[in-house]
Assembly symmetry: C2
Homo-oligomer: 416 residues x 2
């Protein structure tokens, strides 16, 4: 007999074999059934969520975190609507990406197939529970969910509704498995379930992600932190630059694709830095700059070395003045987290060099970094934004939850 987690892993593996055989119609029917069931079980979900919320408040959880934890009628309706939208998306599995004949007559095709079992480790956002299930199920995977202990009552209630929706659609209920024991031991064991879990996706803060990367023997897709830069080139359209900077910094402050640092060519600095300062002051953004930047505005406070590498997720931004595009590229490649970087330029050559040489998931010319997002990229869904280089990089839609297998059609070929 295996441990608690091994048993979950084995059940998920078995369910994943069934999931891989379902037609797109069957999967879509399941998603709609689950959406309906979430609404039917609304009252129970909100009651259980209230337990989590009052326990969190009693423990003195920060108001912004309590807000992420809290479900309302509208938020549950949004979960259901999210599943309906996933049902409406194209199913990426089954597609043959290429098929070629070899000289010996073998036909070798590469087909997109489900990953198998996906593990998600996340914090106290109960909406992730329904959303992650929907994306994994649509792509023919089983999912093992390990949410934060703060949200355990909410997650149990949501998973109950998902299982009931699956049952009504005559689908295996083990397609979703919740780790109900939220102890540190079970999460550590989950990260070692090599052979049962095909990929682990951590969703949450930098600490959670680092811990999964450090401890997991299961392959991990790192999502995450964004220390995103905007570089204002010599000769850039400065009004465009200021509009883009304002958007990238202030349209939503606490997200990974928000701009955290500006790099300014020294020939643009004297003109554009005062423009930036006055625009960002409208949003009460604190500005920390190097010596040159500070000399150009009394509103800028000195930046420390630590600032260059900091993802503020807050109303703070840093400014570095550089003497060349080379220096800008070097600075960004030194301090960025491989997420999203943008150049504001009118120069053809500089635009190409920036896109070639910056090492990041998304490299923009003359646009806000805030577009790095599965929906903005037109994927219709997003399981996270990968900041690593294996398997998936940048916003991950349904395709990131698939792998491929080679299918080979022969007529008796043997190797000589």
């Amino acid at each position: 007999m295996g441990s608690y987690m091994e048993t979950l892993g084995s059940r998920a593996k078995t369910a994943s074999r069934e999931a891989g055989k379902l037609s797109t119609n069957e999967k879509n029917k399941g998603l709609l059934s689950v959406a309906e069931e979430l609404l039917l079980e609304m009252e129970a979900i909100l009651q259980e969520n209230e337990k989590d919320v009052s326990e969190a408040e009693a423990r003195g959880m920060k108001a912004s975190l309590v807000d992420r934890l809290r479900l309302t009628e509208i938020r549950v309706q949004d979960m259901a609507e999210g599943l309906r939208q996933i049902a409406a998306l194209d199913d990426p599995t089954g597609e043959v990406l290429s098929m070629k004949n070899r000289p010996n007559g073998l036909r070798i095709g590469k087909r997109r197939v489900p990953l198998g079992v996906v593990g998600i480790i996340y914090e106290s956002r109960p909406n992730v529970t329904a959303d992650a299930f929907g994306l994994c199920f649509k792509t023919g995977n089983a999912v093992i969910l390990r949410g934060g202990s703060d949200a355990i009552h909410s997650n149990k209630a949501i998973v109950h509704a998902v299982k009931e929706g699956l049952r009504k659609a005559k689908l295996p209920q083990d397609l979703i498995l919740l780790v109900e024991d939220t102890s540190r031991e079970t999460v550590n064991e989950m990260m070692k379930l090599h052979g049962f879990i095909d990929v682990l996706i951590p969703r949450g803060g930098a600490g959670l992600i680092a811990s999964v990367v450090q401890n997991s023997t299961v392959p991990v897709i790192e999502t995450g932190t964004g220390n995103c830069h905007i570089y204002v080139d010599e000769g850039a359209d400065l009004n465009m630059a200021v509009d883009i900077i304002e958007n990238a910094k202030t349209q939503r402050m606490g997200v990974c694709n928000a701009c955290e640092s500006l790099v300014i060519h020294e020939h643009a600095a004297a003109q554009v830095i005062p423009m930036i300062v006055s625009r960002l002051k409208l949003h009460s953004v604190e500005i920390r700059g190097d010596e040159t930047a500070c000399a150009l505005s009394g509103e800028i406070v000195p930046a420390s070395e630590e600032d260059w590498g900091t993802e503020y997720l807050d109303a703070v931004i840093s400014i570095k003045v550089v003497e060349s595009l080379d220096a800008a590229i070097k600075h960004i490649n030194t301090y960025n987290t491989g997420h999203s970087e943008s150049i504001i330029t009118e120069s053809y050559a500089n635009a190409l060099r920036f896109q070639d040489e910056i090492d990041a998931a998304a490299v923009y010319v003359n646009a806000s970094t805030r577009f790095t997002d599965g929906f903005e990229f037109g994927f219709g869904a997003e399981i996270g934004i990968s900041t690593q280089k294996l398997h998936a990089r940048g916003p991950m839609g349904l395709e990131a939850l698939t792998t491929t297998k080679y299918i080979i059609f022969g007529s008796g070929q043997i190797r000589r």
Copy 2:
């Protein structure tokens, strides 16, 4: 100051930035220069290799392992020829795999780019040293090589020639870095070089691969073990079946795509098992079977439960008789290692079901499993065969050594 391994990691990272900027012409020139230098330094390479070989023999290394370690004039010529062949391949980097316009006018493209720094951990095959360098360099990566201590003199001599070839082509010599300290501490540190090494590829036996998977915090591409099956369906062409089985088992015994286990439909068993036995006896293959198989031939010895999961890499094969295609699929999905599986059948429906439901990198109909190989698949190169599902699955050619980045062309877009 960083440790020995951090210093290597940092040097490789710097070199990888340069590598990413090289044109295909520059890289090909570098490969040809290194090929030439290997021939120029032939004598030194063979002398240093002789030290490894005599030390290994003095320690009593098995003859087959000494043979893998030994270099000859022809083997060094083969290394040089391998690099010339890599130079002749298409460069996959730079290709834009898709480019679409979004409704707001953003043009979003997905471009294939180098991974950055590739780490290879391998055993005592000095030919891997030149080969891995060639594949990584062609794709614009820097490589850190950690070979076995048994081959350290050979590896140093080969790396000397590679660096000299790079120098003559005016290319950074840090594009190849050899871990000269082959202690356990340095390899453990190498597996933790998250942030410096973008991917680790272990090449070697099951023990080496398991150790890297267990201990690495750097993303790993697992290559490896193949417990490959051939299923003979009811109504199969039995002469074709026996020819394919003979080829898959005996054409080369010690390789990962060799067949290790047969699964036979009970309606075919009485006729085909004696045919298989007499054919495999020509190659002195020991046959271990379940009760039904043993009853059909006095030459078959009883198999234990352990046999079903064993990759023999030797003149041994197991036979399991099943009552249905379902039972065959279940048996294979239970015991296989996700490498290569084949069905011999005349049934359209069974061929499709086998390809759909078997969970492996390569699923064949009516062909030998021995074709799972980068060269046989037409990739012109192979860095290994991935038996895991993330990033790359099956034979890995040059593309497996690349990632993608999104390149976004805007004209002032901000997010609403």
